[in-house]
């Protein structure tokens, strides 16, 4: 209930009708998909409530000061045949004190409201049954590890839906293996940086199932723009099902044995892991359940056979600057490896 209370309190306090309506208008402009004004989890909600208060105060200041400025410009313009000098006024200490004290009072209100949200977000009590995820930033993709569930996956984060009566938040411990990155899914929470040699924590408790989009928000190199984030918020049943699937060993289909052989024989294994095989590389995404993912290359295209073949053939043609090299496979080998990858459900 906390966030609803804060939203309503701050809106009443500031009479924030207009900013609220404009905020909703902005949200509909983007079809809500990544708008900070369409929050669906407590951290994003509390920020949204605070932002309405801030918007109300700054709008009021803009109207007051801007209006006075406009009035002064119109009222005190020089008339064409008026050449005399106006009365010379040098200042007034009382007035200086006035326009020092009033802003200070406004800032006190703003600062206290801010402190409350900082402490509600950063001092939040972590429930014992919270889901733990380790998020690692890589140059242009995301690694997600679920230490208690024994799952390692990439680019598509699955977490359970939460509700206000029984909260199931997800706590994410974040770091980076190379340069700085930032995890930003605007509808769920504010961003948090992933910095090498430093650990940060953020949490979220999405209130509705569905897909939430975001992307890296700290310049991290050539393909920073295509380091997209997809968060799948699943119903408890669906999440349990997903966990079960991911915990299974990798599919080993004899029909694609030739593709597996090519995969294991080439340098693929230096960077990628497929559980139960000799491929145990850690530089690239874990491929154990690769075919269960809906997108390729950090969310840039749908994961289908056509895109996959193109990607393996020449990653740079789809994502110039991606760290995955071209493997120079023959067309036949490409077909085989693609078939093997597509079998890893």
């Amino acid at each position: 209930m906390r966030f609803i209370y804060l939203c309503s309190a701050s809106m009443q306090a500031a009479g924030a009708g207009v900013p609220y309506r404009s905020a909703r208008f902005l949200a509909t402009l983007a079809g809500d998909s990544t708008s900070i004004f369409a929050p669906q989890a407590t951290p994003a909600h509390t920020i949204f409530g605070l932002s309405l208060l801030v918007l109300a105060i700054t709008t009021a200041i803009f109207l007051a000061v801007g209006g006075l400025l406009l009035y002064a410009i119109i009222r005190f313009r020089q008339h064409p045949n008026d050449t005399g000098e106006p009365r010379q006024i040098y200042g007034s200490n009382q007035i200086e004190v006035l326009w020092t004290v009033i802003p200070v009072l406004i800032l006190v209100v703003l600062f206290l409201a801010t402190m409350r949200v900082i402490s509600e977000t950063e001092h939040a009590h972590k429930p014992v049954d919270a889901l733990d995820v380790v998020v690692l930033g890589h140059q242009y993709w995301w690694e997600y590890r679920y230490p208690k569930l024994g799952i390692v996956t990439a680019n598509e984060l699955h977490i359970p839906v939460s509700d206000l009566r029984s909260s199931h938040p997800t706590y994410m411990t974040m770091s980076s293996v190379d340069t700085d990155h930032s995890f930003w899914v605007p509808r769920l929470a504010g961003k948090m940086d992933l910095i090498p040699n430093k650990t940060n924590v953020m949490w979220m408790d999405p209130q509705a199932a569905g897909l939430y989009l975001g992307q890296c928000a700290q310049y991290c190199g050539t393909e920073h723009a295509m380091m997209l984030i997809r968060v799948y918020v699943d119903t408890p049943e669906k999440f349990a099902q997903w966990v079960k699937e991911q915990q299974k060993p990798a599919v080993d289909d004899p029909k694609v044995a030739a593709g597996k052989e090519v995969f294991l024989r080439t340098a693929c294994v230096n960077c990628h892991t497929v559980n139960g095989t000799a491929a145990q590389g850690r530089f690239g995404p874990d491929l154990t359940h690769f075919a269960s993912r809906e997108t390729l290359a950090s969310g840039i295209v749908p994961n289908n056979v056509e895109n996959l073949r193109k990607w393996i053939a020449d990653p740079d043609s789809m994502k110039p600057g991606s760290l995955m090299p071209k493997m120079n496979l023959t067309s036949h080998e490409l077909d085989q490896v693609t078939a093997y990858m597509a079998s890893l459900r």
Partner: protein
């Protein structure tokens, strides 16, 4: 005419100068006015280059999934655009005006250290050339890389040898270090000049506000460039000598770089904006026909801004994981800096209040500045609220915010300064008609681009992306932003044409075309090499007002 007569005539005329003589005069000059003009000219060249880089970026972003330029080129463009605009446009143009105006305004014949002044200019200029040489030399022996592509704040560890191969990052580091040497030299020079070179009667309480602001801005430059240079030396050691300051793989710290950079970076914003305030302090009173309201409060507010701005840097780092105490402290300090800034806006308004406002081009640019700076200040307050910043930080909202400061406020006051002081510098007026076309076209373009730019940030668009997926719904807004650039570009062309055309055909300005009050208007336009034939003596803050209104001189009221 006999041969003897011819010889007499020739000796009476100055020998005709070859163009090389002119070049030599400019290359070897230590005259503060010429150095000031060279700073300004050099900054204008870089303004056009960095503006073209912005145009390339806007074309690339106009539609989603665009392939107009490659990601590598886009990343170089935003790095070079930011670095150039801050270090090789903003700083030199403001120091240029400072160089030109401060000695004139305090009734001096030159800066305190004329040779240091020339040295500072040339080493800064060399820094700019070195940065752009990276397009040719950046690949070095390694054969990779070109211009720097690490962003203008060059976060570690992206700048380490592993992630930035070749020499592009080294060009970035060394060119800024060189320009920093020049900036520190000029900063010290300006402070010493204001303190020691004032004419008789010009007490510190009587110097024009512009000079006060240049003292504060120089002092900030002096303090802020130290940490940046230190960090850059550490970066060089990391890259060349195998040290590990920012080498995270060996226990170094990426966050350390952020602290060093922003301890410089935030005061730097004030280094750029205080001279803009300085111009407003001179222009708004003259065109309102009233003295500045609350001189003492304005001085106090400027000094306070100088102090507080040294303690707000980590508001650039709210998403780094500073913890609640850090976030709260920097929220508070950032909010506090808005108080003296507000005092300034109120004082400018009070200066106009009860005046008789003349809408000449310098004044309408100043009025544009007031409104746009008000908006920039208010979006700044939004960003100071740490949790709101967790959403807005590093998004296009921030990009829009700081362009409101850098373009909407600073560039507008630079334009105002050109229209106001060009007559003094070249003896001819800029065309008022072209000036108004410049103002209105630029203002339309500015608002179409930068008002719109806030919205994609609110809708989740991060900065520094070379393109974006079509399903995000940011396409229309980005197209509108790009269209605004066309208006701005046309306006800039008009401005450049105005300066060229008026130099030849502009109306004669005379010594005091604006009926102004400070000392630079007491000498001819352009001023002679020695500025004043006789050392001036002043009795108040507005010496020319006293001369023009002996019945009610300022000395009675201060």
């Amino acid at each position: 005419m006999n041969s003897n007569g011819t010889a007499v005539m020739e000796s009476n005329q100055a020998p005709k100068k070859l163009w090389l003589d002119h070049v030599q005069e400019w290359l070897t000059t230590v005259d503060h006015k010429r150095i000031g003009l060279m700073y300004i000219g050099y900054a204008l060249v870089f303004l056009i280059i960095a503006g073209l880089e912005a145009v390339l970026m806007r074309i690339q972003l106009a539609v989603p999934d665009n392939h107009f330029i490659s990601p590598q080129v886009f990343n170089r463009m935003f790095t070079m655009h930011g670095t150039t605009m801050v270090f090789f446009v903003g700083m030199p143009i403001l120091f240029g005006f400072g160089n030109y105006l401060v000695p004139l305004m305090i009734g001096a014949r030159d800066m305190a250290f004329p040779r240091l002044n020339a040295f500072s200019f040339w080493i800064s200029a060399f820094g700019g050339l070195l940065l752009y040489f990276s397009f040719l030399g950046g690949s070095g022996l390694y054969g990779a890389g070109s211009a720097p592509d690490v962003g203008w704040f060059a976060y570690a560890p992206l700048t380490s040898k592993i992630f930035s191969q070749g020499h592009s990052t080294d060009y970035w580091t060394l060119s800024i270090m060189l320009s920093g040497i020049g900036s520190v030299g000029t900063a010290l020079n300006l402070i010493v000049t204001v303190i020691t070179m004032r004419c008789k009667g010009m007490t510190m309480a009587r110097i024009p506000l512009l000079c006060w602001l240049y003292v504060v801005t120089s002092w900030l430059t002096f303090l802020a460039l130290g940490p940046l240079t230190a960090a850059q030396i550490m970066l060089c050691l990391d890259r060349f000598a195998g040290s590990h300051f920012f080498d995270v793989q060996a226990g170094g710290s990426a966050v350390l770089w952020m602290h060093f950079f922003w301890i410089f970076g935030h005061p730097e914003v004030y280094v750029l904006v205080l001279p803009a305030f300085a111009f407003a302090n001179e222009i708004i009173p003259v065109f309102s026909r009233k003295p500045i309201f609350g001189y003492a409060a304005m001085v106090g507010a400027s000094v306070l801004i100088g102090f507080i701005s040294l303690g707000v840097w980590a508001h650039h780092m709210f998403t780094v994981g500073l913890g609640p105490a850090g976030n709260a402290f920097f929220t508070l300090s950032t909010m506090i800096v808005s108080v003296p800034t507000g005092i300034k806006i109120f004082n400018w308004m009070a200066t106009m209040w009860g005046g008789k406002i003349r809408f000449a081009t310098p004044m309408i640019f100043s009025l544009g500045f007031l409104f746009q700076f008000l908006i920039a200040g208010l979006t700044g307050v939004m960003l100071s609220v740490a949790p709101f910043d967790w959403q807005l930080g590093n998004s296009y909202f921030v990009v829009a915010h700081f362009h409101f400061v850098l373009v909407g406020a600073i560039l507008y006051m630079i334009f105002a300064a050109f229209y106001y002081w060009y007559p003094k510098m070249f003896g001819r007026m800029l065309s008022e008609t072209l000036g108004k076309w410049h103002f209105w076209l630029f203002t339309i373009g500015f608002h179409v681009t930068f008002d719109t730019m806030h919205i994609p940030g609110l809708l989740g668009m991060p900065r520094r992306v070379y393109t974006y997926p079509v399903d995000r719904g940011w396409g229309t807004l980005n197209m509108i932003e790009t269209i605004g650039v066309v208006f701005q570009a046309v306006a800039l062309l008009i401005f450049v044409w105005n300066m060229i055309d008026s130099y030849r055909k502009g109306k004669e300005a005379g010594p005091d075309p604006w009926d102004a009050w400070t000392l630079e208007w007491a000498t001819s336009s352009p001023p002679p090499h020695y500025n004043f034939a006789v050392d001036p003596v002043v009795h108040s803050r507005r010496p020319l007002w006293d001369l023009k209104h002996p019945e009610q001189p300022d000395t009675h009221f201060e």
